[in-house]
């Protein structure tokens, strides 16, 4: 690591004061909360489990942002809608297979695989169509243009879903396999939370294997380092970009099903907030970095759930959970002040 010459500037002093202030605030808040004894040990475990499962979903969506950014240097703002449409198609399949009169209700595991497959394939198709229709024609355009297109595509998909499915919230049929609680290490967890975390870990492990160990994965990494050189080396850049979108879509579809089971809601606007949070997670982790997206997602999830209680409860802030987004986004701002490239970001992407 290079040591930069240090000069005492006004900005430097302010930043150091900020750093000290934050650390002091965190320590004081956490200390006050923990010594107040207002929340039991079981509560912390519950909050942590909620944070981890939600974070796992953010991470799955964030991977889609980060992969696409890696190869195209653009933010696919319609990714939240890819997630939403996957969740919808999963719901229709789930209602056919797993509701009380569904024909897979006695084989819930097979039925669930069907639900995941439907959601993931739908999301993948939507992502591919997006790439072909909205982004590929603009690949040589200035960087702002695909960004605006992405926002347009996002609204288009949202209101298409609104027109097709209406504005009401729906839900997946209750599945015995996913409800109830399990005991792990003497602590009681919601089964769906544990399943969400496990499923996310499996998917991420597969992704890592794919990117690090396969030829196509190597091609993806090459394209993300330099598109033109990769093309000169005989890599089919278009194909690689298509595969990247497909993978992002598959992960978003899986996230859509997990999210719908976790929160029991499917509606046309469901992609907005998780999309923003996942984008935040990707930026927090360092956009373009796969590890960064995973760490960022989990971090945002945990901060959102544990942060308000840990930092604000002890300070006597009334109803701290109303401020969960403040806590989560403050961390983003701080990370960007001190590490503009995010936690795992590469310098050349800035």
């Amino acid at each position: 690591m290079l040591r930069r010459p240090r000069r005492l500037t006004l900005l430097g002093v302010v930043l150091w004061a900020l750093r000290v202030g934050i650390v002091a605030g965190v320590v004081v808040g956490a200390w006050a909360t923990l010594t107040s004894g207002g929340l039991s040990g079981g509560t912390w475990i519950t909050l942590l489990a909620a944070g981890l499962s939600q974070g796992a979903i953010y991470a799955l969506i964030a991977l889609g942002y980060t992969l696409v950014y890696g190869v195209l240097l653009m933010i696919n703002f319609a990714h939240g809608e890819v997630f939403m449409l996957g969740s919808f198609s999963g719901m229709f399949v789930a209602n056919a297979l797993l509701s009380a009169d569904g024909f897979m209700v006695s084989y819930p595991l097979v039925g669930l695989l069907g639900v995941f497959a439907a959601a993931m394939l739908t999301s993948m198709l939507v992502a591919l169509v997006l790439e072909r229709v909205a982004y590929r024609p603009l690949r040589r355009a200035p960087r702002l243009v695909p960004l605006i297109t992405a926002i347009g595509a996002s609204l288009f998909l949202q209101y298409t879903a609104f027109g097709m499915f209406g504005s009401r919230t729906r839900r997946y049929p209750p599945v015995e396999l996913l409800s109830g609680r399990v005991e792990i290490f003497g602590f009681s967890f919601q089964r769906i939370e544990v399943i969400t975390i496990v499923a996310a870990v499996v998917l991420m492990a597969l992704l890592f294997y794919f990117v690090e160990r396969t030829r196509t994965g190597r091609a993806m990494r090459a394209v993300s380092e330099d598109k033109d050189v990769a093309a000169l080396m005989g890599i089919n850049v278009d194909r690689t970009i298509v595969i990247t979108f497909a993978i992002g879509g598959l992960l978003a579809g899986a996230a859509g099903v997990l999210y719908a089971f976790l929160f029991n809601r499917v509606d046309f606007g469901m992609g907005i907030l998780p999309g923003i949070k996942a984008f935040t997670a990707a930026v927090l982790g360092g956009i373009g970095s796969i590890t960064g997206a995973v760490v960022g997602g989990v971090l945002i999830g945990i901060l959102e759930n544990v942060g308000p209680s840990l930092l604000l409860f002890g300070l006597g802030v009334p109803s701290p959970n109303q401020l969960r987004d403040v806590v989560a986004f403050s961390v983003l701002v701080l990370v960007l002040i001190f590490r503009p490239t995010g936690l795992f970001g590469r310098k050349e992407n800035v």
Binding site: T43, R168, R171, R265, N305, S309, S319, N321, D325
Partner: protein, 431 residues
């Protein structure tokens, strides 16, 4: 020659100026007076004079044109069940009138604007859009109290009444309060001073001694929980063991429920909306400590099919307070018409009767103050219409006998508490 030219040019300019001024002198009176010249006063009243005297002038509806009522309800998004419910209720009243020959022989038509629920600003936008639309008899809305706060003054400035079927926050009709909605706001919905007290009485009668509350930062929820907390303490020395708040749009409530679970209260009161309220109902079940806790909410969630569908098993035993609407007229006349309008995809909340009554009040007031000109134009003086609406008394509606006070509270409130039993709301209190 040149001199003449200059003089004649000057003269020409002078004539132009005079010509431009001339119509101004004769046309000083506004358009409103024009029909007066052609029409003879009907029934002893001169519409021109009446409109002239009225502070906000008249709503004019040409012969054969429909009378238009605006709506500013929450008709898309999470709370659309509430808004559409009122919309269909209002539509039933208008359709009945139109079929029975109409209001002054005219059909009643609606102009819908989405006022939303989660954000006060959308209420203001909807009100401005309706003002821009122009020529509205009155506006029906809003769905959520917080959107009424900015919407009512925008309409009031134009002399247009905002009448709500579901704004229940006490502050809206309290002139001392910063959220007072003004002199052109009125409601057929009950005031939450009554609803909060009813829930407290119910809790006391059940023998509950501790309660926790959750609000979502909205005008409605924050006031309702405050009234409940005060009444719960004064009626039976009930103790509030935890006060929490959530943000609209949250989906994960573990952090809010965890400290409440630690306190394990007898009653958990969360007078908020769908879907946050639905999700809390659902997620509370994942805390074994809350198994003995009665989950309770208010009319924002009462009767909501979305809640029953979504929370499923978890919703069993949940109670909500709110108005009741029943009787022969409801069953035989209103409900079939409502069902036909709302179709299969029924939102069905509990405020459709209030919306129905509100529109019927408008019709009655319009018939009282409306004047038909000779050419068939209908004149409804706005201030007089407002005064007639506020003077409504002993009005027999579906929700009871309505009498408006000077601040716009018109309801004949009868609050009941209903419990979800086997997937349906059943009235359990008062017994």
């Amino acid at each position: 020659m040149q001199k003449y030219m200059r003089w004649s040019a000057a003269l020409f300019v002078l004539m132009l100026v005079l010509a431009a001024c001339a119509p101004g002198d004769t046309g000083a009176s506004p358009d409103a007076s024009e029909p007066a010249e052609e029409s003879q006063p009907a029934a002893g009243e001169d519409p021109a004079a009446v409109c002239e005297a009225d502070e906000f002038g008249c709503l004019e509806v040409a012969e054969g044109d429909p009378i238009r009522i605006g709506t500013a309800l929450s008709i898309t998004g999470d709370t659309s069940a509430l808004g559409l419910d009122s919309q269909y209720g209002a539509q039933v009243a208008a359709d009945q009138k139109s079929e029975a020959g109409g209001l002054f022989g005219r059909e009643i038509e609606f102009i819908h604007e989405d006022a939303g629920c989660g954000d006060a600003a959308t209420g203001q936008t909807a009100a401005q859009a309706l003002v821009a639309e122009g020529d509205l008899l009155a506006v029906m809305g809003t769905t959520c109290s917080r959107t009424a706060v900015p919407a009512a003054p925008v309409l009031g400035q134009e002399g247009i009444i905002l009448i709500s079927s579901s704004n229940t926050s006490p502050t809206l009709t309290d002139p001392e309060h910063a959220e007072y909605a003004g002199e052109f706001f009125m409601r057929t919905a009950h005031n939450d001073l009554i609803q909060g007290a009813a829930m407290a009485t119910f809790a006391c009668e059940q023998g509950f001694t501790t309660a926790a509350t959750i609000h979502d930062g909205s005008t409605y929820a924050d006031n309702l929980r405050a009234v409940f907390e005060e009444e719960f303490a004064s009626q039976c020395d009930g103790e509030i063991v935890s006060q929490q708040a959530v943000a609209v749009g949250d989906t994960e409530f573990t952090g809010v429920l965890a400290p409440i679970a630690d306190a394990a209260p007898d009653l958990l009161y969360y007078p908020i909306f769908h879907p946050e309220g639905t999700l809390i109902t659902q997620q509370a079940r994942s805390f074994p400590e809350l198994d003995g806790t009665q989950l309770a909410a208010s009319d924002g969630l009462l009767g909501l099919q979305d809640l029953i569908d979504q929370a499923g098993e978890a919703a069993e035993g949940f109670v909500a307070s709110g108005p009741a609407c029943a009787g022969d007229e409801y069953d035989n006349t209103f409900r079939p018409a409502y069902d036909a309008l709302s179709g299969e995809d029924q939102p069905l909340s509990v405020f459709h009767c209030h919306a129905y009554d509100a529109v019927n009040m408008m019709i009655a007031a319009a018939e009282e103050v409306g004047i038909e000109g000779d050419d068939g134009t209908l004149f409804i003086p706005r201030q007089a219409f407002r005064d007639a609406m506020f003077a409504t008394s002993d009005f027999e509606g579906l929700t009871g006998t309505l009498t408006c006070d000077e601040f716009g509270d018109c309801a004949d409130p009868a609050i009941t508490v209903s419990r979800i039993e086997n997937g349906a709301f059943v009235v359990i209190w008062p017994e």
